[in-house]
Symmetry: C2
Subunit: 429 residues, 2 copies
């Protein structure tokens, strides 16, 4: 089945601004609360949010095998479980409905009023109920930078790193959509030179610039996903800020890995951009430095050229861009991550989420965390308002953006924007 | 509200064998498929399974605020979310209905036929949809044994271990109920003396004797659970076999912790025994060796005296008991684990699961894994059939059992029994 929604010559009868992340070639999926306080699954073209539940009830998806309530849900999990053939049919149909040459909905004022919303009329929700969340560690530059800081340049990469897309299980319950603020976490840390830990607010709050992909039901217990079939099971991608408390992490992470340093919050952009929409932006992954075991050998272009940036906006001030990176720098691609994750027979379900790990590029201004950008705080970053940052301050908002661009078509992710608040004021219950 | 179900003088009109784990003082909760292929929530007295969905429809829970379909579900998550007051009211009512002195149901043959099942008429299911699964590492003896093997006796315990109930996030999707077989996983390992990893079936499959507790909705993002309120949010406990592939673990676990070495399967016993039922068996936790930070200081008895055993049953042979341990050995108790888990504001939801970590006792025959029992394979265990085991062989069944006993009352967990099968036969799709 062709991806006719990707046709670069298409235009929509809905207004799409010149630098919009959401032309008719994008058609991402999300969940929102409408002005009538109804939860629905939707998409977005330009600055118009589109209620897919209403569109389906009005018969616009006729001919596509969909259950009646597939879009009248508070998560995308069931739709994602329907599989790629269905996602593609729905996406192509949406492109047809909103194509400049199609006047059916365009000229039906009553239908349009039910289906189309301004962005200020809706409230984006978490698009999936994340069953399991896995975070990888797949940027060579990030692993090298962090390894150099903690163990010196000679031992920067662990012996397994070039053989395994190293990853670990993360916490699903604290994944939040863009716009929800996060409180500075408290916890145990070991001050420099001390032998006993102390308790208090983390002093080293950091972001991690990541992307995350969302899967469909893929395999039974025991079964593995072959590396070159893996993309069949990937629904789409979001921007992902894997908040980190570096001082808590340093004290707790041996020997079982990061725990509370990460589980206080991870923020995601609310529109899931499908792998189909990203198809034109595929690129080769970096060449493997060491030979790979056969189950990790991916063929063809499995990387994606997605420009990324991170900005910090201090309270009542303008934002400063602090990093510009790209998803194409990932040493291990998503296909390799999914093949590795299932090589032991671990089941992957609809709505599972897999983070890339911090995406650092080769240059100092392309690093994906404050830890690396300020080199453990040794080189503070200057903000436009004259202040400096070693890590993230209370009331700072961290904003991540991402988009692809090629031959005049721009497909983007919007942003994930999260404000850091002071520690939570614990009330007596 | 008193826990009248715990009255040790109660007897049931249902037959309960002398050494049954399920007297009328237990009343665990589970989910099963009935002879009519209907999924329902149930309990068990002696060798009788009781359909709570049917009991509720027949009006036996009148006066307790319950939604009509609370027991007609395929998981306990919603019932658990109702909170402790409701669990207790239901448990007390069940004890009343089946009390020897109550003839209402006993004498209603028609109702009894609808409500009561023989064990061979039902099939136990996973009792909860596990949102997030966390595994702790809370046995001092286990951490010391493993640390001694990997780093020598002088560095056995990591500096953080006596200050933090160390834990990590596990994989929910591969948690299975007792009775479902597990395939030997494949993966990467680094053979002794080699510099490059190889791919193949794990050669060192191990069990880990654990218990796991299941929580209710406890806190919002940002909020922490005080250590001495933590038990209010714990629904109950199960036996838990955290299957491990030691050779995969050794190669992959640095620096982010265990991943594929654990995520191929974890098995749980199907009946959740409530904390209420375990109340009479509370004991003091071991005295802290180092002073604790205030948020981890638990008051009173927060440990539980639960005798545990592990047996290995080779194919077509009798089982051999290979370990006898006790849950009371846990250095960190569940209240401390939950307080620590939420000190950073991480939300805990209904159906979340927290494993204790391997429960090893002080003597060599009380260790909770083959790794420790055979000391890395150096001291193989003799089976009754004359064979030896360093780790688990294909077709072996590993069985874990647990029970409390005091003043003539025995409350037990039944068992978690899982057979290890050879590697999965991957079919071409």
């Amino acid at each position: 089945m062709s991806i006719s929604a990707n046709n670069p010559d298409r235009t929509s009868w809905l207004h799409v601004g010149k630098n919009s992340d959401f032309p008719i070639q994008n058609i991402p999926f999300g969940v929102f609360l409408t002005r009538d306080d109804i939860i629905t699954i939707g998409t977005r073209i330009g600055d118009t949010a589109i209620d897919l539940g209403a569109l389906h009830q009005l018969g616009y998806f006729e001919g596509i095998p969909l259950t009646d309530d597939i879009f009248l849900q508070d998560t995308l999990n069931d739709f994602i479980a329907d599989g790629r053939k269905t996602w593609r049919a729905v996406r192509n149909r949406i492109a047809d409905i909103f194509d400049s040459n199609n006047t059916a909905l365009k000229n039906n004022l009553k239908h349009k009023e039910i289906v189309c919303f301004r962005l200020d009329e809706i409230e984006m929700q978490l698009p999936v109920q994340v069953g399991d969340y896995t975070d990888f560690y797949s940027s060579l530059e990030h692993a090298t930078n962090v390894g150099t800081m903690f163990r010196g340049a000679d031992n920067a990469l662990m012996p397994n790193w070039l053989h395994i897309p190293v990853g670990y299980h993360g916490r699903s319950s604290s994944i939040i959509p863009s716009g929800i603020p996060v409180h500075r976490p408290q916890g145990q840390t070991l001050p420099d030179g001390a032998t006993e830990p102390v308790f208090g607010p983390s002093k080293l709050i950091d972001f991690e610039l990541e992307m995350a992909f969302i899967t469909t039901d893929a395999n039974d217990l025991g079964e593995s996903i072959p590396v070159n079939e893996a993309e069949e099971y990937i629904f789409g991608l979001v921007l992902f800020n894997d908040w980190s408390a570096r001082d808590i992490q340093k004290w707790e992470y041996v020997p079982l890995g990061p725990f509370l340093a990460k589980s206080f919050a991870s923020s995601m952009s609310p529109w899931i951009v499908t792998l189909d929409a990203l198809e034109p932006f595929k690129v080769e992954s970096p060449k493997p430095i060491k030979p790979l075991l056969p189950y990790l050998k991916s063929k063809g272009k499995k990387g994606y050229d997605i420009s990324l940036e991170v900005a910090i906006r201090p309270k009542d001030a303008k934002e400063t861009i602090v990093s510009k990176s790209n998803f194409k720098y990932m040493y291990w691609n998503m296909s390799q991550q999914l093949a590795h994750h299932t090589i032991n027979g671990c089941p992957i379900n609809s709505g599972d989420m897999m983070g890339s790990g911090t995406i650092s590029g080769p240059t100092e201004d392309s690093y994906g965390s404050m830890l690396e950008l300020t080199w453990r705080g040794e080189k503070p970053l200057k903000m436009k308002d004259g202040t400096e940052r070693k890590f993230i301050n209370d009331y700072d908002t961290v904003i991540m953006r991402g988009h692809c661009e090629k031959d005049g078509t721009r497909i983007g992710f919007g942003e994930v924007s999260t404000q850091l608040l002071p520690i939570y004021n614990q009330k007596k219950k």
